[in-house]
Subunit: 277 residues, 2 copies
């Protein structure tokens, strides 16, 4: 039994990840509305479209409001089937195909799952897997001798967010990202370790609020020198001073999502078609 929440369906002929992300950012504009979300991915044929309609119509019966369906479906026949269910149908795809056909003066393919096919044909799939392997091998200062193969090298205090950012850069963008933890020695001497000098142009710094770092390190090694607020404050103060001294671009990860950290790094380093505005 559904409560008075609005039931939201994200329907896709692919993974549903894009429709969910865009749908959620639209819904985030209505913060008083409570929702219950369901993802219906890989709706590729008539029988799956009819099964999706059944899901939607069942939800409509159990709820005082009609469901809201966000859809990215390339096949107009499948779109029409879903749109005819008992719902508010928000078509994130169909609305734009016709204007693009006019602009390009050509018909669209209406080919389901086309973006994945292209992704593999141009090798970007393999390059992402290679980037993930590179990133995991070069986590936390490992195999420094192969830094010349890195697209970017993140530096920062232990637990300032280097690893999740590297992993995201690799899997989302195919960027080979290594990371190097700045040690007490580096911090106290207020200089980069010599080993990083040849790669200055690839370095990007991370920082974090000392209070947050203290909290994260407490989870890992409670009541240690390593996790003390005093040590965290000391490291962060020195590290930020170092970044400024050597003019290294850096970003504060404290209340920044991993997507945003990654995008800002790509924007600053002008990798992956990101431009500064």
């Amino acid at each position: 039994m559904y409560s008075a929440k609005r039931v939201i369906f994200f329907v896709s002929d692919s993974t549903g990840i894009t429709v969910k992300t865009l749908g959620e950012s639209l819904l985030a504009q209505f913060d008083t509305i409570k929702t219950e979300q369901k993802i219906l991915p890989f709706v590729n044929n008539l029988s799956e479209a009819h099964a999706a309609v059944e899901h939607i119509n069942n939800a409509a019966k159990e709820c005082p409001y009609r469901p809201i369906v966000f859809a990215t479906l390339t096949d107009p026949a499948l779109r029409d089937i879903i749109a005819a269910s008992n719902c508010m149908f928000i078509d994130l795809f169909g609305a734009f195909i016709e204007p693009l056909e006019r602009e390009f003066e050509t018909k669209s393919n209406h080919a389901v799952g086309r973006s994945h096919a292209i992704q593999q044909a141009n090798g970007s799939y393999d390059s992402r897997i290679a980037a993930i392997n590179f990133t995991l091998q070069h986590d936390d200062g490992a195999y420094i001798d192969r830094y010349k193969e890195a697209d970017v090298i993140l530096v920062g205090a232990s637990r300032s967010g280097k690893t999740p950012t590297c992993v995201y850069l690799a899997i989302q963008f195919g960027v080979s990202a290594a990371n190097y933890p700045l040690t007490d020695e580096d911090v106290e001497g207020m200089k980069l370790p010599a080993i990083l000098e040849p790669f200055r142009h690839k370095l990007f710094g991370l920082t974090i609020k000392p209070e947050r770092l203290h909290q994260i390190r407490q989870d890992r090694r409670p009541n240690s020198r390593y996790s003390s607020l005093q040590q965290c404050s000391f490291e962060i103060q020195k590290i930020e001073a170092l970044y400024r001294k050597i003019n290294l671009p850096f970003i504060d990860t404290t209340s920044t999502s991993v997507e945003e950290i990654a995008s800002r790094i790509l924007q600053r380093t002008k990798l992956e078609h990101f431009c500064e505005v």
Copy 2:
């Protein structure tokens, strides 16, 4: 100097990842059109909007066709500025806000970057970082004693795609994903290792075409027994027979993107609001 390619801009007040993904899947419907892509993320204020317009208008001057601009901008004032540039403006956001306002009988916030704020408030950011840490600690059969904390455990031959899939499940969905490589012993005995038995309900199998596995392993250890086509064929044949014997759900990763593998696993395991159709 631009060639006769169509110049595409993805403009966002956030990371640009969603607008790029949806824009690319629209463009993939026009496979004869060559494009040159640029991402303009974090367009959050008037001066950045005007800088974006300059980028777009410069491209328009250098190219026989007007640029195509895909935008996800929550602030109508910024949308209007970009829309007035010399371009075809495709508004992936504004078109849907008004219908949603009517449906919800309430005004939207028009709050920039709202989705990230919510993401952090509900703790999903921390849970993704925790999932990434879990996944990296439990890669390749490590720390099996803590498998009870895993949401899902992937099994399969060495190099069949377990690690990239686990990493994607963690960073995109906050799913704690461990993985365990099936050894020769497991394969020859045609049974799961005893250590995995208590976690049967969390297991998901991966497989891959022997020819592709051979190719991947050749890159890693050329001309070894491990990488021989004969060994790859033997392992895969046995592993698929094992999956069928014990009725384990599995997926072939050979020509499947990591997004699709992850989504299909979530759909089958009914994690993360994914439903089967």
